[in-house]
């Protein structure tokens, strides 16, 4: 199925598409050179938002789920990318342990995702088993999926230095569990095995402000390469170090940051004659995946926040990496907030908000889908839907493979801007990869073991 998209196809986004297509060789070379110096995350998925007048990544998931929603046509690409990844990480690899999220055995949809991931790694030449770190799973469990496939989950066995299953000693451990409730001790100090992504990629450890700093810097360079205003692919943002919002003065400080970001957006909207109402999102810097996100059009709304919301926003990150208490991300961290320009979502399938998600493995784009929020049928004038709700995957959302699988797949340099689906998706792939480069900078900068290499 190919979605019919009702996207604003006029204005700056078409120019952006044209710039991206024209610069294709330069862009690919730029990425090639970046990857000589930096290591891509093992796999990831970037959520993009196409406002019609700008296009920006709004989230990047380092433990991506939903692999089962990708078009079957794209799987050989994922296999090829997985081969490239494994070849670099551990060419001698035989066994790979995939660690699912907890309670995996109760969620058939999620299990299908695991089956697909296992298929990719198996086809890349690995023996793959599922090793659960869920304390509730004490013995091996076989689950029969509706389509007849049988999935086996085994509880992991931790020895002093290794994580294993009975009769299965992996050299590589891939997490499909973002450890949102904290880094478990069972995954620490596995110095003999490759643990991917590394623990400091978990959303409980990551700080949005680190990522944004890296992404901002990259868009400046990338904008120069393309000859475009970096704002077209970035979001205005500010890191508001206010402290706990339940404390005096903190709310004022946060309101000032909101005002500043809103003012910047207003200026840009004026410059590009955009007749939307600017808005910002606010979330705690270390709030992770489950954290509260506020959406505001006016900084004065902040003063009106009730105590409960303030407390919820300020809630400290649940955990950082144990034993790293002396690091910059220690438990004494003062709450701070990221205020980001909100990007209206201009893509619709029927009347539903459709969010493109681009899947990557190693340095390659290997697929994509539209996440469709069926329950959020809001009037088209209010295009920010989905922003304040945590991007839940089970809250009525469904998925449509991105038309990456439509012929022709490859960008068509001659086509009219906005008219060619592959050209739009090439642009999406470029932006998603830019977010991926930013993550690689971020993870290098926050690597707790970095001293040992320096």
């Amino acid at each position: 199925m190919v979605p019919h998209l009702v996207t604003a196809l006029n204005g700056p986004i078409n120019e952006l598409e044209q710039h991206v297509l024209d610069a294709m060789p330069a862009i690919e070379r730029w990425f090639r050179l970046e990857w000589m110096e930096h290591t891509p995350p093992f796999y990831c998925a970037a959520d993009l938002r196409n406002a019609g007048f700008k296009l920006a990544p709004v989230d990047i998931e380092l433990y991506p789920e939903g692999w089962d929603h990708l078009s079957e046509d794209m799987l050989p690409l994922a296999v090829q990318a997985a081969q490239a990844a494994i070849e670099k990480i551990c060419p001698e690899a035989r066994n790979l342990l995939l660690v699912p999220r907890n309670r995996a055995h109760t969620d058939n949809f999620y299990l299908r995702n695991l089956v697909q991931l296992m298929r990719i790694f198996q086809n890349a030449g690995l023996n793959v088993r599922l090793g659960s770190i869920d304390p509730a799973l004490r013995t091996a469990k076989k689950i029969k999926l509706p389509d007849g496939q049988v999935v086996q989950l085994d509880p992991v066995i931790r020895s002093k230095r290794r994580l294993e299953l009975k009769h299965f000693d992996p050299c590589t451990i891939v997490l499909n569990n973002d450890l949102a409730s904290g880094i478990p001790g069972i995954l620490e100090e596995l110095n003999e095995q490759y643990l991917l992504p590394p623990l400091h990629a978990s959303s409980v450890v990551r700080r949005k402000s680190n990522y944004l700093r890296c992404y901002d810097e990259l868009t400046k360079r990338f904008g120069k390469l393309l000859g475009i205003d970096p704002w077209l692919i970035d979001r205005q943002n500010m890191h508001a170090k206010t402290g706990d919002l339940t404390q005096a003065g903190a709310l004022d400080a946060l309101a000032q940051s909101c005002d500043a970001v809103l003012a910047k957006i207003r200026r840009k909207y004026k410059e590009y004659r955009i007749r939307e109402k600017p808005f910002v999102t606010i979330q705690a810097d270390g709030s992770g995946k489950e954290g509260t996100v506020l959406t505001l059009h006016d900084a004065r709304e902040i003063a009106a926040l009730d105590r409960q919301t303030r407390a919820r926003l300020s809630a400290r990150p649940m955990s950082s990496i144990d034993g790293e208490d002396d690091g910059p991300q220690d438990h004494e961290e003062i709450p701070s907030f990221v205020v980001q320009e909100g990007v209206p979502n201009g893509e619709r399938i029927h009347d539903n908000v459709a969010e493109p998600v681009v899947y990557m493995m190693d340095r390659y784009v290997v697929g994509g889908l539209y996440r469709i929020h069926a329950q959020q049928q809001q009037p088209a004038s209010d295009k920010r839907s989905g922003l304040s709700a945590p991007a839940g995957r089970k809250d009525g959302a469904h998925f449509v493979p991105l038309a990456f699988s439509e012929r022709p797949h490859l960008p068509q340099p001659g086509a009219k801007p906005g008219a060619s689906v592959p050209n739009r998706f090439y642009m999406y792939g470029v932006l998603a990869r830019l977010a991926m480069v930013a993550v690689s900078y971020e993870l290098e900068a926050t690597d707790p073991d970095a001293e040992t290499y320096a």
Copy 2:
């Protein structure tokens, strides 16, 4: 279009398929380790023959044409593979010069192949131009293809150290010209640029006996890995160093080699209860692409060869690399012959012989097609059709993309042997890659510059 195949689906080939599937992780790991030590040819295409009772590569083309016949679905794989290749060869690459075969501008079919190759390299992030070494092409020529696309061919400009076009200085030169009529001086000593494949990959320089030695050795190791008789994936062969066949004694010597190979085949046929009539092919070791190939069922046929055929068979290779006259492949080379087991072709589309061809770039399988010899409608009992005819591309042959593009692409471990198209094609991809590894061994062993690295 997916061909309907009338392949013998019983017997050893199904067991082979099962062995290959069962060993998938071990096979992929084996290739991974091979590619740590050896360099794959930049691109290549392997012709396979599936006899129903055995499967063997019968030719490997290092300057593959026909890219336009690949399924559009497979192109992203080729792009990804090209990216991987370029990243290793020259990550800073901006400009790539593609050198077509001579007379390219007179052949629209071939030009479409070039357009497709250019598209692949452009999407991998390179500026691509066509640089002709055809002395007949003195000025730039634009050709409009029937589909409206315009292709421009420029004559190359040779400076002391570099090959360029006007205003286009490539760092990488890719040959899509196998230099069958000899290595031109204009391509020699380009020490500042990457020339791919290297000149000693040309069929005028290659010796079949070198390749066969490498392939035989590999099948022994690979057979052990799979737990199979290597004969199931290899061909009996012998290098007959007889000298010129017009000289006394040479014919007898060649007949003895034929007898020996035929006896070996007979033994294998008996072992596997194959009721085919064994046959062999004979060709001069350095006969290149255009050389004569004889097909014989009985060594006594050799004595009956007329003088003309003998002379044609013994014709010396047209050229080796100029300036390498002191090397092992000098002009004084004594004619020798390779006698190889003939493999009957068991695949049919309707009543036509269908030959699978697997395309590879860097270390990856990126597509495939069936080459169909429409004019060779021979009775099914005579399955060796196409053997003695040079595998011409314009002699009425046409092309059908291999059903690599059919869902699901990926091997399905549970399927009944012989029943799953992706499983058969996985096996084809494995055999094609085995031939590719053999080529990489061969090119290492025959590299005229090897001393400088040693």
